[in-house]
């Protein structure tokens, strides 16, 4: 899927040490304590021009927050987001509005993401209006072209969102995101709310449009199987941290982080003959308000040791282009079960 020259390509978006903390007031008592939730905790990643980076993780791990912070729809607490060699976090509101057309977002919820009082035509042509583009007639023509492009009947220009099905609304959302010819699109779980049959249509549509328009995608999802089809590279997040990032095949064939390995073992395989061992992680995701010391995954990790409690693992390159933040990354070809057995025998 990905050629070797990918990494020599231009980076389009560089995220450096991005942090997004939320302050939550605890209820009750005269003296209210403030708790800090580290939704995105020091994440660095690079998105190259023309690639699709898949981002997966359990719900609440901060992947959507990361996407919104990259677009500066929320204000990050700290860090840098370099877009076209400029840190957009230093932009003022006016500068930010001017580059908004270059970076767009597609939402998960096909119901809440369209203005219920706009016809879908208005919703899309509004994008041109905001930037003062075209005459009203040109706007309508452009909008109808866009509707056709995403596989909708342009005659439904005057229909309201509630007259559409979920999949159709998602197409409208995609048309809206494409309206301003963006370079970079964050797709925030665009298929999670859809039926499986509609999911593949939307994914295929996204892949086609990505190719035709030379888009760069950050594709956020909570399931690995969806991401596999569309992504060039995949990043895995856990509790606000990026734990592993590599090319898609590397992630799926030889995951290095125990969390990724455990996640992968739960993906159903269509081949019933194939024997697989499923690894069920024990316990719950710890509250991001009080993350464990050291490695944030250690409370559920079958390989965790004393060292994981003390030292926070840094994201490091274990193989070419394969970054993991783990003290005991799995070797190429080594399964998590092997590693667990090895650990047990070494103890004895």
């Amino acid at each position: 899927m990905l050629s070797e020259d990918k990494r020599q390509q231009e980076p389009l978006v560089e995220v450096k040490h991005l942090k997004k903390y939320f302050e939550v007031k605890e209820s009750g008592g005269v003296k209210r304590k403030k708790k800090v939730i580290k939704a995105v905790n020091d994440v660095s990643l690079t998105i190259y021009q023309g690639e699709t980076l898949g981002l997966v993780g359990e719900s609440g791990c901060g992947k959507s927050t990361l996407g919104r912070n990259i677009l500066r729809l929320q204000e990050p607490t700290d860090g840098e987001v370099i877009f076209h060699d400029q840190d957009i976090l230093t932009y003022n509101k006016k500068q930010l509005r001017q580059i908004r057309n270059k970076m767009q977002i597609i939402y998960q919820d096909p119901f809440g993401s369209l203005n219920p009082r706009f016809t879908i035509g208005q919703s899309i042509s509004e994008m041109f209006k905001i930037h003062g583009l075209y005459t009203p007639k040109e706007r309508e023509e452009r909008t109808k072209e866009l509707l056709e492009l995403v596989g909708l009947d342009p005659n439904r220009y005057h229909s309201y969102p509630h007259e559409f099905s979920g999949g159709q609304r998602q197409r409208v959302g995609i048309a809206r995101a494409l309206a301003l010819n963006p370079e970079f699109i964050v797709a925030d779980e665009p298929v999670s709310a859809l039926d499986v049959s509609v999911q593949s249509q939307i994914i295929n549509l996204l892949m086609k449009l990505k190719k035709d328009f030379g888009l760069t995608l950050l594709f956020i999802a909570h399931g690995l199987n969806v991401v596999r089809h569309i992504s060039d590279r995949v990043g895995v997040m856990y509790l606000g941290k990026l734990v592993e990032i590599s090319e898609t095949d590397n992630i799926f064939d030889s995951p290095a982080h125990p969390y990724t390995a455990a996640l992968l073992s739960t993906v159903p395989d269509p081949n019933p003959e194939k024997r697989r061992e499923r690894i069920v992680l024990e316990g719950e995701v710890p509250s991001p308000a009080s993350p464990p010391s050291g490695c944030s995954f250690r409370t559920r990790c079958p390989l965790a040791t004393e060292r994981c409690k003390q030292v926070v693992p840094e994201l490091q390159e274990v193989r070419s282009g394969h970054f993991v933040s783990c003290h005991y990354p799995l070797a190429k070809g080594q399964t998590l079960l092997d590693a667990i057995k090895e650990k047990q025998t070494s103890k004895v």
């Binding site: 919104r68 677009l71 729809l73 930010l96 509005r97 001017q98 908004r100 057309n101 970076m103 767009q104 977002i105 939402y107 919820d109 809440g112 993401s113 369209l114 203005n115 219920p116 009082r117 919703s123 509004e126 994008m127 905001i130 930037h131 596989g151 909708l152 009947d153 005659n155 439904r156 005057h158 229909s159 309201y160 509630h162 007259e163 099905s165 999949g167 159709q168 197409r171 959302g173 809206r176 301003l180 509609v198 593949s200 249509q201 295929n204 549509l205 892949m207 086609k208 190719k211 089809h229």
Partner: protein
């Protein structure tokens, strides 16, 4: 799953429908609202055109004498001073309706601006505006009106301003809550992501969502404003006689409740019917403005 990406036209596409359900067609389907609507139209026409046609003025004492029964010359009879009650109903209605309408619009304007700004901009703006709103709410409404009118005088303009200033808080709270709700929607964030300015987002994306609630508040407001105006006129603090309003006509009528009950029944019934009609119309408008509410 591994098939190359080809997109067909979405199979979910339904038959082409160019239907554009307008607000009027859906209002037409609501019979009670339409009845109320036409009742109000007819009433407003009578009240606003009638005085131009009707030969008697509300203050002139006719030769028929006091407390006369109905006749062709005086359809509603005459009052205790021999004035034509029909003429007084027309002129009184004109003032009552104008005061109600103007006070409603004015208080909607204040309430919407304050509520929307507080909800949308948040932080300091929210704290200041909502504390002011709550402080105003703590003052008993009717006493505020009474005191303000005693101090400021009782010209119709002043009555409108005072009633509006005492009634906007409910609107502000409703709009504030709705704004808080709608500003979290993803289509609002999408407008922000497209680079829309905050004021555009507020006016084009949030206010239209709040509009049904504003209209419902408006109907309650106009009913409340008419009732308040009638009440203060009844107490003698509103618009002063001899200028008639339905409220001070009621006050006048109570002395003759047994001898000439029609003097009390007429303005009382007029107030009741108008308040009811505005409420029914408001309900109909709310449904008609909601694009999801399309009856087959």
């Amino acid at each position: 799953m591994e098939t190359p990406a080809n997109i067909e036209t979405a199979p979910e596409v339904e038959p082409v429908q160019q239907r554009k359900v307008t607000f009027w067609t859906s209002l037409h389907r609501n019979k009670i609202a339409m009845l109320a609507f036409w009742f109000l139209i007819v009433l407003h026409v009578i009240v606003f055109i009638g005085p131009l046609v009707w030969s008697y003025t509300p203050t002139e004492m006719t030769t028929t004498g006091p407390l006369a029964n109905w006749s062709w010359a005086h359809p509603f009879g005459t009052d205790d001073l021999g004035r034509d009650v029909f003429a007084r109903m027309l002129h009184g209605g004109r003032i009552t309706l104008l005061v109600g309408l103007a006070a409603m619009l004015f208080s909607l304007l204040i309430g919407t601006i304050i509520g929307a700004c507080a909800g949308f901009f948040g932080k300091v703006v929210e704290s200041i505006l909502m504390r002011v709103t709550e402080a105003m709410m703590a003052i008993p409404n009717f006493f505020f009106v009474l005191v303000a009118l005693t101090v400021l005088g009782t010209s119709p303009m002043m009555v409108i301003i005072v009633i509006a200033c005492s009634g906007w808080m409910e609107v502000a709270r409703v709009v504030y809550g709705e704004t808080l709700k709608w500003k979290e929607y993803e289509f609002v964030e999408a407008a922000n992501a497209a680079g829309a300015k905050p004021l555009r987002i507020l006016i084009k994306y949030i206010i239209p969502q709040v509009l049904p609630s504003i209209i419902v508040s408006g109907t309650l407001m106009i009913a409340w404003a008419i009732l308040t105006e009638s009440a203060i006129s009844y107490l003698g603090l509103g618009i002063q006689p001899p200028t008639p309003t339905w409220g001070n006509m009621l006050q006048n009528a109570q002395q003759y409740l047994w001898t000439a009950p029609v003097l009390g029944i007429l303005p009382g019934a007029a107030i009741t019917l108008i308040v009811l009609a505005y409420n029914f119309l408001g309900d109909g408008l709310r449904d008609a403005l909601d694009p999801k509410f399309v009856k087959k």
